[in-house]
């Protein structure tokens, strides 16, 4: 008798597990008593330069819209894209999420996962016209706009310590030959010429190689090479750019542990005055404002990579992209879409742009006049830089993920002498389809 009871209880338990375990959970994002619920994933958290901005902006958004219930998930940058793409593969994308411009937006949009915001632009002409072009352009696929970039990221800035330059009687290099001279003088005096951290493999490509390649090939060449229109990665001007990276490495331009530390660790050499220059994007700025010693801040200047002999690129440009933006899942309900559009406005309107400036992020609006008294003096330097130099695209934004992996690994192989520039160029060309 007792055994039969046990049997029944177990069988029942099993049935319950199957019913509840196997059943599809209800989508958590439905209208409930007039409340609109939606999920939001982003990587503006931890050391991300936009973390304090997002926190402040989300708090005010929640306060202004008590009828929205937002389930916000903040995921660290390194895991974010992995988690997002895994969720996409499983068909479980959140209603709203942070998306990178260009390549990533294109991948998601062509897979039919995103909902456009063209009507939002049409309904708010004033907001729309306040933006610099790339804030929308880089989120546009086939005429459909999917988001507005939250600020701008300048990818290649040479931050330099003018006290160290003065100490050795040097000026910031205006030509490639001068750069080589500067490197050798610092080398002789046991100062790291350029601090760089390429263990994650993207920094060299994003912060240095993209602009070196542009100096050598010009802007249109890259578009033509990717579209297979009369340009190839095996062209001499591209190989020349790869050779410059080899040259700089051989000259000892970088810290000796360039391959084994990351782009955050390398900053310490620069902050401590052990390195004369550091090559990084504008995302280093909030970190400088927060962590760099006052003595360095006073001597901090920013410059661009000098023109290279025979280069076809405009030496006045610098590489950069639009900041990331919030996009809308195609599967979101109409109420959710309206709510998320409100959020997109809220994190990119004039008020939000002023907050960008406060936290040291270059703004993506033309309407903002920056009050020199309210922002860090270091930030003014980048504003000045952006005003003077037009932006051109960066490689990992223009290339697809496979090509990006080839160039990232290829640059590392060049630096350790495992491959020749010709080999890397041929590999990259083979991945152009």
């Amino acid at each position: 008798m007792g055994k039969r009871w046990v049997f029944l209880v177990l069988a029942l338990a099993l049935c319950l597990t199957l019913v509840f375990g196997g059943g599809k959970s209800e989508p958590a994002s439905k209208k409930e008593g007039g409340k609109v619920k939606f999920t939001l994933w982003h990587a503006y958290v931890g050391t991300d330069q936009r973390a304090p901005f997002m926190e402040e902006r989300m708090a005010s958004f929640r306060a202004q819209n008590p009828n929205f219930e937002i389930e916000e998930q903040k995921i660290a940058r390194d895991q974010y894209q992995t988690k997002l793409k895994t969720a996409a593969a499983a068909g479980q994308l959140p209603d709203a999420f942070q998306c990178w411009p260009n390549a990533m937006t294109r991948e998601f949009a062509t897979a039919g996962l995103l909902s456009e915001i063209n009507d939002l632009l049409a309904a708010n002409p004033e907001w729309k016209n306040s933006f610099v072009n790339r804030a929308f352009d880089e989120f546009t696929v086939d005429g459909k706009v999917y988001s507005a970039g939250l600020g701008i990221s300048v990818c290649s800035i040479i931050y330099y310590n003018k006290a160290l330059f003065a100490k050795y009687g040097l000026a910031f290099p205006r030509t490639y030959e001068e750069l080589k001279h500067v490197v050798s003088v610092f080398r002789q005096n046991n100062i790291i010429p350029i601090a760089m951290g390429n263990k994650p493999k993207w920094p060299m490509q994003s912060t240095l190689f993209s602009i070196v390649a542009n100096r050598s090939t010009g802007t249109e060449w890259l578009e033509n090479a990717l579209a297979k229109k009369g340009a190839k990665f095996t062209d001499p001007e591209f190989i020349r750019a790869l050779e410059i990276i080899v040259d700089l490495t051989k000259m000892g331009a970088f810290n000796s542990d360039v391959i084994t530390i990351d782009n955050v660790q390398m900053r310490d050499y620069f902050y401590r005055g052990e390195a004369a220059m550091a090559v990084e994007g504008s995302w280093m700025l909030p970190d400088i404002i927060k962590r760099a010693p006052e003595s360095l801040k006073q001597n901090l200047e920013m410059g661009l990579f000098p023109p290279i002999p025979g280069g076809k690129g405009n030496p006045n440009v610098m590489s950069g992209v639009s900041g990331t933006g919030i996009v809308i899942n195609k599967k979101a309900s109409p109420e959710q879409k309206e709510a998320i559009k409100k959020l997109i406005l809220h994190v990119s309107n004039n008020e939000a742009q002023l907050l960008f400036a406060k936290y040291g992020i270059p703004v993506s609006s033309k309407n903002i006049t920056i009050d020199p008294k309210t922002v860090d003096p270091v930030y003014l330097k980048i504003v000045d830089l952006i005003a003077k130099h037009p932006l051109v695209t960066v490689y990992d934004s223009a290339l697809n993920s496979e090509q990006t992996e080839i160039i990232n690994n290829g640059l590392q192989a060049l630096m350790v002498g495992a491959k020749t520039p010709e080999q890397v160029a041929a590999e990259l060309q083979a991945a152009v389809k």
Binding site: T17, S256, S401
Partner: protein, 293 residues
């Protein structure tokens, strides 16, 4: 066995929920991922069937074979490094002498540390710019030996192997210590009465009785080494220029950095087949050895 026969229905039924969960969350996904191996899929668009294309590509990718070689190297240094070192330490520390307990703890500490900690610890020790190892070498006049340990293709893999030995020898020491303590004292007493030398005791009593444990350790070593990932991922991310790439990091990169989910699944299947084959081969070899002992 009798117990099982009497309660068969009950036992089968009792294990059913666990079995269902296991099949649903372990077995099914594994087979599902095998199926994806035959598709080209970036995780966003619909998968397209490509037959054996992924597998052909894997077998023609020098980076994959390089990572396989690195895995074999790790298997090699694990079997011929960790197990002998573990064995020697265990035999030495099985004796009671002042401080033997302290030594046991010291040798076991690397095992207690998380792999991430181990990786970061060694990365900073070996850093060519500020690392202690190079500075020490320069201090004692061996500056020529100072090098870019993890940044040089020739030394990176050797360094990784060294750290793996350092990390896991303690584990095998503990396993062997436990096995030595399980050897009946009577045998040693009988040996002493017969006037057997210490050396003979070690060679003819301790080692033969430890053999089954050594066998189990070899299987552990192979299985552990074929799926090693974390240490390399934190220390070098497979670099410089794929020099320390392992099969698992290769799979991870293809799946989660380049988003070729189909290709990544195919790599997973190849890893499974290779590891399974090696464990099988290892067991057959060890069996034969055991028969001759």
């Amino acid at each position: 066995m009798e117990l099982f026969r009497r309660n068969r229905t009950f036992i089968l039924l009792g294990s059913l929920p666990a079995l269902v969960l296991y099949v649903l969350f372990v077995i099914y996904p594994i087979f599902r991922s095998f199926v994806y191996g035959f598709y080209e899929w970036n995780g966003l668009s619909e998968p397209t069937y490509v037959g054996l294309k992924n597998f052909q590509e894997i077998l023609h990718d020098p980076v994959f074979w390089n990572s396989f070689r690195n895995n074999l190297l790790i298997v090699g240094v694990s079997i011929f490094g960790q197990i002998p070192i573990g064995l020697v330490l265990a035999v030495m520390l099985s004796r009671k002498f002042p401080g033997s307990g302290t030594y046991r703890s010291i040798f076991f500490i690397p095992m207690v540390l998380s792999t991430v900690v181990v990786a970061l610890l060694w990365s900073s020790l070996l850093n060519p710019q500020v690392g202690v190892v190079n500075q020490f070498l320069k201090q004692i006049g061996l500056g020529v030996l100072a090098m870019n340990w993890l940044g040089d293709m020739r030394t990176a893999m050797a360094v990784v192997c060294g750290v793996i030995i350092w990390q896991f020898s303690g584990l095998y020491m503990v396993i062997f210590l436990a096995a030595i303590q399980n050897i009946p004292k009577e045998i040693y007493e009988a040996c002493s009465l017969d006037g057997v030398s210490e050396r003979a005791k070690l060679l003819h009593v301790t080692l033969p009785l430890l053999w089954p444990t050594v066998m189990a350790s070899v299987v552990l070593c192979i299985a552990g080494s074929m799926r090693s990932f974390d240490l390399v991922y934190v220390m070098t991310e497979g670099g410089p220029a794929h020099a320390t790439e392992l099969m698992a990091t290769y799979m991870y990169n293809k799946t989660f950095a380049v988003y070729k989910y189909g290709y990544g699944s195919a790599v997973a299947m190849v890893i499974f087949l290779l590891s399974f084959g090696m464990i099988l081969a290892g067991q057959i070899l060890m069996k034969r050895k055991q028969d001759t002992v």
